[in-house]
Every structure is written in structure tokens, then in C-alpha cells.
């Protein structure tokens, strides 16, 4: 359990750094790479989706905690694009979740095959 959490946490950090450096396109790319590398672990795509959503949530909430007007702006932005406030927040979570998950899923399909275990004599 703790290993899974650690894995998701580190993955979230990778998503956050990727997004910070390269923008939203980093999410499917990091997911793809993760899927390719960890394709043989348990539920790599799910972990990628959750980590990507967590990363974006953190990228939005950390500035708010430092005093930047992220939360008040969210209300304005949602009204500007004429969606309910919750829909904007939902999009901020669902989009990375789906792109991270789908990227990782694709990555697992592209991952090199694990060499077959030698047969017992």
C-alpha cells in the first residue's frame, strides 16, 4: 500500500514537473512513458490517471495557498466561459485523469514483452 502511494506520489511529481515545463502535452507523454516502463506492474494506467489529476490539483491549489487569487478567479473564469464553477474544477481533474490514463494504457501496449521465465526441468 505504502509502495503504491509512494509510486503515485512520485508519478504525480513527474506529471507536475512535466506540466510546469512543457504544458498540458506532458500529461499524455509522461503517461505513455510510465505505461511503457511500468507496464508489467499492477494497474499502471489507473495510477497514472490518479497521479496526473493529483498533480493538476496541486498545481492549482498550491498557488492559492500562497495567497494568489486562484479560487476567486476560478469563479470569474467559469462564468466567463459560461459553465458552472464545479464543471471547471471537474474538467481540471478529468482531463489529466483521462489523458494520463489513456497515455499509460497505450504505453503498456507498447511496452517490450517481458522475457518468458525458463521452463522448469
Amino acid at each position: 500500500m505504502s509502495r503504491t502511494l509512494l509510486r503515485v506520489g512520485l508519478l504525480a511529481l513527474a506529471f507536475a514537473l512535466g506540466t510546469y515545463a512543457f504544458g498540458w502535452m506532458a500529461v499524455p507523454v509522461v503517461g505513455l512513458v510510465w505505461g511503457a516502463l511500468a507496464g508489467h506492474s499492477r494497474r499502471p494506467a489507473l495510477h497514472a490517471g490518479v497521479a496526473a489529476a493529483a498533480a493538476w490539483a496541486a498545481l492549482l491549489l498550491v498557488p492559492a495557498l500562497t495567497g494568489l487569487p486562484t479560487l476567486t478567479f476560478a469563479t470569474r473564469l467559469a462564468a466567463a466561459i459560461q459553465v458552472p464553477g464545479w464543471a471547471l474544477w471537474l474538467a481540471e481533474l478529468v482531463f489529466p485523469l483521462l489523458t494520463g490514463w489513456a497515455g499509460a494504457l497505450l504505453g503498456t501496449a507498447l511496452a517490450p514483452r517481458r522475457p518468458a521465465a525458463p521452463a522448469a526441468e
Partner: protein, 831 residues
């Protein structure tokens, strides 16, 4: 293996549409990824909402370092050692706070909005290009001397804007770019001229030929000319010198005459000339303004005082941006600029303060042209000679570069040629002619006396004509309606359609400056303009404009207030700017009350009418937020107009034009006029009191149905008249809607129409030995909707308060505790 394929296929199936929508958008949606990216998308507006306490930037072309100190109201004070450096810095700081606004307004002026928003802007762009505004900007730029100050100012300002644009990462682009899915353009010097043109369009595109022609078609020439007169029935000229003029010069209105079929034909030529979206008979008087000044003899502190509040569309961000430019020994000017213009438009320096109101001059005429081929003309005839038409093929492109439409715009030597219902009409308009407004603003900033200010403006400021009020430190106050006023052929005015085949119908030049409406240090000790007719008819040098562009009510009010106060204080000036008293209501109210109590009005003597009279009798003629009289009065006026001018309804029942309230007042003084009879009731002859009482009763019923019982406070002005300050893209989330303030139609603090226009800036200046000023505007300095300075001034504006402006002469004079941020601009490092 199968499992692997399934996983891959599912991944692709989910990812592909997501990536498409994220990268390209879908339908009206912009590219979603760039929008919701938490670091680089729309959210970045919040990350960049607060100005850094200290920042540095390189600006190409600077000759020395420029220090910009932002005070605690967000006003940048620019300290430079060379003038052009100050204007470069102005470009930089304006772009820093208002980049999207710069870009958007320049596109509006250039007629290229559809490249950002697609086909929905096509009608707007088409009108801009059809009117020849972008071509005029090109010609004005090409005519500039590249060694002259105007060219250098335009270039310096562009350098500053571009220095900011070039250093931006996509994450730093204003949020609106991300919502539209577009990117900032580099600023071209011509963009400033597009902006001047756009402002000129707003204030001088007044094709008033339409109203009178349409009325002539229905009620004949004589009646139409009386309903839409050249001279206002109420005179309160800005030029007080000369023989005394009666304030009310009412004339008998001739009865409706026979329809004029020739006028009907001509009137049809003008369908479609209104700005896109503007309804027929729309009230353009909301683009009004006030300015006034008192000389030392009438001010409490013995200094000249000046006030100005231009009434324009209220937008977020505001049309204005406040700044100070200081170059020791050369320039020290404070005021507001329109983002994109290289200079301070309204404001003051150490010696002189100035403010504008719109003159409303008729500077636009139409000519019916004779062309060689009505289907596809290439030549037009003048004095028996065929001249070639200049032709321009205009391509309108959409967001992705696709061609939305292609037009051929033709020009005669007079201006653009338009095709209207089988006829070809050309237009001459001062806005499309050479002018030097950049130079004018530069010279104004350097003026040291009121007279010098007026002279430099008369030399270079041609359009849109403005009533320029100025006061100086020596106590001189002066006003001059400044701009190019056409001299038309003798015996003609600007309300007719000229025969374009004869050059004798052309303008003969412009008014000599000596004959402009003007006054310097009048004996009365004060001067005021509020969009009234500038000069009394007998004093006017030639036809200047017509009554539909004028509005006497605020002028009557402010003149009365100033006349009654021999010791005007700064606070009086501020108070007058937000006065909710209606001189207009004072003129009309007695007619409503008398009609309701008259025997003929008794036909409507219902409890509703009695209640209405009670409300109006108790009303103090103030448009304050807590009273119910203003709403009833405005509805009664609306109904009175509707019931009275039925003769101006066409066969389909549409009102082709509505005479002004001044003409209505004129008619109210003629109780037996045949205009009171309602043609829609053939067996009854209505009289004045019957119509007026009916209007009042109907107004009461309307409001009762809409807002309930007046006793329940549902009719109070704050429930009905809201101020709506809309974002430039009209995005509700970035707008300030449903605000409440005092003021109404015709009051000094106006809030007419749908609440989208009003005092866009308020300024009071005290020109003592050390100039002092107070100001505010409805918005904030920042164009970033996430910034605390996006709309921080609105509460103050709503409350009718002003803030003292900090006017430091150097950096040391700016108190450290009032400095919010510092920006240092340095010459670009040599590589």
C-alpha cells in the same frame, strides 16, 4: 497478445479525441489544453495577478534607463531622461497592463476582428472597411514626415509595446487570448492611427441625414424640418459672449404634410448605414460628456478649477489608462490615455489642465454619384468628365485563415463609394482626411498657457471635433470647439444628399479658426460644455450640425449651478459631477400633473392616474437610487413619445425616427397642435392633455405590471436602473453587472439607456501654484480579470468619490509608502 491490442486500441480511442479537442478545440470551444492547463492556460492569469515589487526589462531603442514607479492606485509614474524614452516606456507599461485591449481595439479599427472571432464579426469588419477607415489610417501614416515628431512618437510607442510582447511566454499571454485561441500580435505604428479612427468613428459618425429624410418621406419637408431642426429649441451655448440669447426658442410646429416620395427614395439609400447592431432611431446622445471651469474670481481658493467627465461606453478594462510621464525640464504630464495612443488624451501638466466634450459637429456628407456601369462601376462622372474609381479588393479571413468573404471597396476622390438599393453614394468625412492628432496630444502636453493649448490643438487636432476646455495656472479659462468643420456650398447644409456629378457641391474648405465657437475668460467667470449647441444660431459662422447631436439639459443644469455659486470649491466640482438632479424632469413634470388634473385628462381619471400624480408630485426630480418617481417619469416620457409621434410610423408600424425631448417640449407648449391627434383612432381627435394623461396612466400600469405595487418599493430607481460595465468580449464572468448608482437621463451624472454608458472618467483639477488633481474611473488599471486592480475603482466611482492623484516631479517626491512596485527599463544590452 490480444489483451495488449485491446489496451492499445482503448488508449488510442480515448486519447485521440482528447488530444484533438485539446489542441484544436471543437465547435465554439477554443483549444481546451491551452485553456485549462493549470500553469500555462487561463489559470496563469491568477499566477500573474500581482505585480512584482521589482522588475527589470530591456527595451530596444531606449537612450537611457527609465524608472517606472507604480503608486498604490496602480498608476505608473514614468521618469525618463529623454522624451521618446518616456513614450517607449508608456508603450511598455500600457502593454503590461492592457495588452489584449490594445490588440482588440486595433483590430476593431483595422477591420480584422473576424480573424479572431470568425464570421460573427464580419458585419462589423465590413462596415469598418466599407467606410474606408483602414485605408485612411494607411494614408495618414504614409503622409507623416519620418523625421517628424509624430512618426517618432508612433515608433517609440510601438517599440515599447513590442519589447513587452516579445518577452512574453505563452503562459503570460492575457487570459482572453487563451479563451479565443489566438496569440498577441506585434504592435505596428499604424495601429495607433486605427485607434484614433475608431474613436473618431464613435464620436463623429453621425449620419443624421437618415432621420430627416425618413421623416420627410412620411410627413413632408416642412414638418420634418421642424421635427428635426438644425438649431436646438433650447439654447445654452458654450460661447457665452455676444448678445443675450433666450434659452427657450420654441417655434410653432407645422402640421403633418403630404408624404415626400423623392425623400422616401433617398431615405432608402441610407438603410444599412447604421453601425451593426444599432437599432433605427437609437439614442446616440449617451455619448455625451461634461466639462466646466471656473476662473479665480469664482473659486473659493482663488485658483482656476477644471472638471471633466467624458461619457462613453463603460467597459472592463476601462477605455482609459492613467499615467504620468516625466522628463525633467521637458515634459511633465499626467492624465489618461486610450491604450494604444502615444500620449495623454485628457489631463494636465504643471501649468495647464484640459478636458473634452464632443462637439457633435456634422462632418460627414453623402453624394449620389453617376457611374458608368451600375452593376460593376469603374468610373464616375464629375462635371461631364469620367474619372476612374479607385478599387480595393478586401478579403475577410476567419480564425484559421479561411476566406469568409471578399468585397471590392471603391473610392471617389471624396471618399468611399457605397451601393445602396440600386444607387451609388459616396461619402466625404473629415475622419478620412489628413490630420495630426498625435502631434496635437504631444504639443498639448507641453502647453504652458491656456491660449497656447488652444492654438496647438487648432493647428493639429481635426477630428473628432471636441469642445476643448482649458484652464491655466495664471487663472485663464478658455474653451474652443476644435476640429475641421466643413464649409459647404452656399445655401446648403449637411442634411441633404448632394449631386455628386457636380464639383460645385463639394466642400469649399473648413471654417477659419477665428470663427470656431470659443470663449476666453468670459465676464461670467465660468465656462461649461455638455454637448449643447456650441453657439447661438445667429452667432454661428455656418452650418455646424443639427439638433439631434445636441443635448441641452446638462448644460442648463451646470450653468445654473455655477451661476449660483460665487465661491466654488473642489468638493463642489466633484459634487456637481455626480448631481442626480434632472432639469429635464423639471420642465416636463408640470405638464403631466396639469394634464392629469385637467378636464380632458379626466378621461383617464382612474385610481392609477391619481396614484401616478401623487408619486410625481412628491418626486424631487432627483434620480437617486431610493426614489420611485424617476422610474415613473421615464416610463411616462417613453409612452408620451410613443403616443405622440404616430405620424412617423411607416406602413409596417415601425417608427422611422423620433424627435428629441426638446422638440417634445416645444410641442407641449402648443396644446392645440394637430400632432396630438392619434391617427390610429380615426373617430377621435386627441388633444395634448388627453395624450399626456394617457401616457402617465399607461406608465403607471406598465410599472405596476412589471414591478408590482409602488408601495412595496419595487419601483425604486436602484431596482430599475442598473449600471452594466461589460468586458470587451462581453463575457459575463469578467464583467461588473447590475451595479447601482445615482443619475439618469439628462442629469449631470448620467446613467441612460441600458446602463452600459456613462462617466468613463472623472477629473477635477485645482490649478494653484502646485497643481492638485482628483480623479477616478469605473474599472481599474489592470486588464487582468484575476488582478485586484481589475475593477478596484468601481466602488469609489459608484459612490461618486474621487481619489487624489499623486503628481511627483521626480522619484524623490513620490512617498516610499505609496510606491507599490518599481519597474526599471534599460536599453537593450548590446550583443
Amino acid at each position: 497478445m490480444t489483451n495488449r491490442i485491446w489496451r492499445g486500441a482503448l488508449g488510442v480511442l480515448v486519447l485521440a479525441p482528447l488530444l484533438f479537442v485539446a489542441r484544436r478545440g471543437a465547435g465554439p470551444l477554443p483549444p481546451l489544453g491551452a485553456l485549462i492547463d493549470p500553469v500555462h492556460g487561463a489559470w496563469a492569469a491568477a499566477l500573474h495577478a500581482r505585480m512584482l515589487k521589482r522588475a527589470n526589462a530591456d527595451v530596444p531603442g531606449l537612450s537611457g534607463t527609465v524608472s517606472v514607479r507604480y503608486d498604490d492606485r496602480g498608476v505608473p509614474h514614468i521618469f525618463a531622461s529623454a522624451e521618446l524614452d518616456a513614450y517607449r516606456a508608456l508603450g511598455y507599461v500600457v502593454a503590461r497592463d492592457r495588452l489584449f485591449q490594445l490588440d482588440l481595439q486595433a483590430r476593431a479599427g483595422a477591420g480584422t476582428l473576424s480573424e479572431w472571432v470568425g464570421a460573427q464579426a464580419l458585419a462589423f469588419d465590413r462596415q469598418t472597411r466599407e467606410l474606408g477607415m483602414p485605408r485612411a489610417a494607411e494614408q495618414k501614416l504614409a503622409a507623416l514626415d519620418t523625421a517628424g515628431i509624430s512618426w517618432h512618437l508612433l515608433q517609440a510607442f510601438a517599440d515599447g509595446v513590442n519589447a513587452y510582447v516579445d518577452r512574453l511566454t505563452p503562459a503570460q499571454w492575457p487570459v482572453e487570448y487563451k479563451l479565443l485561441g489566438v496569440k498577441p500580435d506585434r504592435w505596428q505604428p499604424i495601429n495607433s492611427l486605427h485607434l484614433f479612427n475608431r474613436m473618431g468613428f464613435t464620436l463623429s459618425y453621425i449620419p443624421d441625414e437618415t432621420a430627416r429624410l425618413a421623416a420627410r418621406a412620411l410627413v413632408g419637408d416642412s414638418a420634418a424640418d421642424a421635427l428635426f431642426p438644425i438649431d436646438a429649441p433650447i439654447q445654452q451655448p458654450i460661447q457665452p459672449a455676444g448678445p443675450p440669447v433666450p434659452s427657450f426658442a420654441f417655434r410653432a410646429l407645422p402640421a403633418p404634410g403630404r408624404p415626400d416620395t423623392a425623400a422616401a427614395q433617398l431615405a432608402s439609400l441610407f438603410r444599412g448605414l447604421r453601425p451593426p447592431g444599432e437599432a433605427a432611431g437609437a439614442d446616440r446622445q449617451h455619448f455625451a460628456s461634461n466639462n466646466w471651469a471656473v476662473g479665480p474670481a469664482r473659486s473659493a481658493d482663488g485658483h482656476a478649477l477644471l472638471a471633466n467627465d467624458p461619457h462613453l461606453d463603460l467597459t472592463l478594462p476601462s477605455i482609459w489608462y492613467e499615467a504620468q510621464l516625466v522628463v525633467p525640464g521637458k515634459l511633465d504630464v499626467y492624465g489618461v490615455t486610450i491604450p494604444g495612443l502615444p500620449g495623454i488624451v485628457l489631463g494636465f501638466n504643471r501649468d495647464v489642465a484640459w478636458g473634452f466634450t464632443n462637439t457633435g459637429a456634422d462632418v460627414l456628407d453623402f453624394y449620389k454619384e453617376t457611374v458608368n456601369d451600375p452593376a460593376n462601376p469603374t468610373r464616375y462622372e464629375v462635371d461631364g468628365t469620367w474619372r476612374p474609381l479607385e478599387r480595393r479588393v478586401v478579403v475577410y479571413r476567419g480564425k484559421h485563415g479561411e476566406v469568409l468573404a471578399t468585397d471590392t471597396v471603391r473610392y471617389t476622390y471624396r471618399g468611399p463609394l457605397m451601393h445602396r438599393f440600386g444607387e451609388w453614394v459616396s461619402m466625404r468625412w473629415t475622419l478620412l482626411e489628413p490630420s495630426h492628432e498625435v502631434r496635437a496630444l504631444y504639443d498639448a502636453a507641453h502647453a504652458s498657457t491656456a491660449r497656447e493649448f488652444l492654438d496647438v490643438m487648432a493647428r493639429s487636432f481635426f477630428v473628432p471635433a471636441q469642445n476643448m476646455l482649458v484652464a491655466d495656472r495664471h487663472g485663464t479659462i478658455a474653451i474652443r470647439s476644435t476640429g475641421h468643420f466643413p464649409l459647404r456650398p452656399p445655401g446648403t447644409n449637411g442634411l441633404e444628399i448632394f449631386d455628386g456629378s457636380r464639383s460645385s457641391n463639394d466642400w469649399r474648405g473648413y471654417w477659419p479658426v477665428d470663427h470656431y465657437p470659443q470663449s476666453v475668460d468670459p465676464a461670467q467667470g465660468f465656462l461649461a460644455s455638455a454637448n449643447q449647441q456650441p453657439e447661438a444660431p445667429h452667432a454661428q459662422y455656418a452650418y455646424l450640425g443639427d439638433e439631434r447631436a445636441y443635448d441641452p439639459w446638462r448644460a442648463l443644469d451646470i450653468n445654473q449651478l455655477l451661476r449660483g455659486n460665487a465661491k466654488v470649491t473642489v468638493d463642489d466640482m466633484r459634487g456637481y459631477q455626480v448631481s442626480p438632479l434632472s432639469v429635464r424632469a423639471r420642465q416636463f413634470l408640470p405638464f403631466f400633473v396639469a394634464a392629469a388634473e385637467s378636464p380632458t385628462g379626466g378621461a383617464y381619471a382612474t385610481p392609477a392616474l391619481q396614484s401616478a400624480v401623487r408619486i410625481l408630485s412628491r418626486w424631487n426630480e432627483n434620480y437617486t437610487r431610493d426614489n420611485g418617481g424617476a422610474a415613473l417619469f421615464e416610463q411616462a416620457m417613453q409612452d408620451l413619445r410613443d403616443f405622440t409621434w404616430d405620424e412617423l410610423d411607416d406602413a409596417q408600424g415601425h417608427r422611422v425616427a423620433t424627435p428629441s425631448d426638446e422638440v417634445m417640449l416645444e410641442l407641449l407648449n402648443q396644446p392645440q397642435s394637430t400632432w396630438w391627434d392619434d391617427r390610429r383612432t380615426p373617430n377621435v381627435v386627441e388633444t395634448r392633455d388627453k395624450v399626456v394623461a394617457h401616457a402617465l396612466a399607461a406608465a403607471y400600469d406598465t410599472l405596476a405590471a412589471r414591478y408590482g405595487d409602488p408601495a412595496a418599493n419595487g419601483w425604486t430607481w436602484d431596482q430599475i436602473a442598473k449600471v452594466n460595465i461589460r468586458h470587451l468580449l462581453r463575457l459575463p464572468g469578467f464583467s461588473a453587472l447590475g451595479l447601482v448608482t445615482d443619475g439618469g437621463r439628462g442629469t449631470l451624472n448620467p446613467a441612460p439607456g441600458g446602463g452600459g454608458a456613462g462617466p468613463s472618467w472623472r477629473l477635477v483639477v485645482d490649478l494653484g501654484p502646485h497643481v492638485k488633481a482628483w480623479d477616478t474611473y469605473p474599472g481599474g488599471q489592470s486588464g487582468n480579470p484575476a488582478s485586484p486592480e481589475y475593477e478596484d475603482r468601481i466602488p469609489q466611482w459608484l459612490a461618486g468619490k474621487l481619489s487624489p492623484a499623486l503628481v511627483p516631479g521626480d522619484t524623490a517626491a513620490l512617498p516610499a509608502n505609496r510606491v507599490r512596485a518599481t519597474l526599471t527599463l534599460a536599453p537593450e544590452a548590446r550583443r
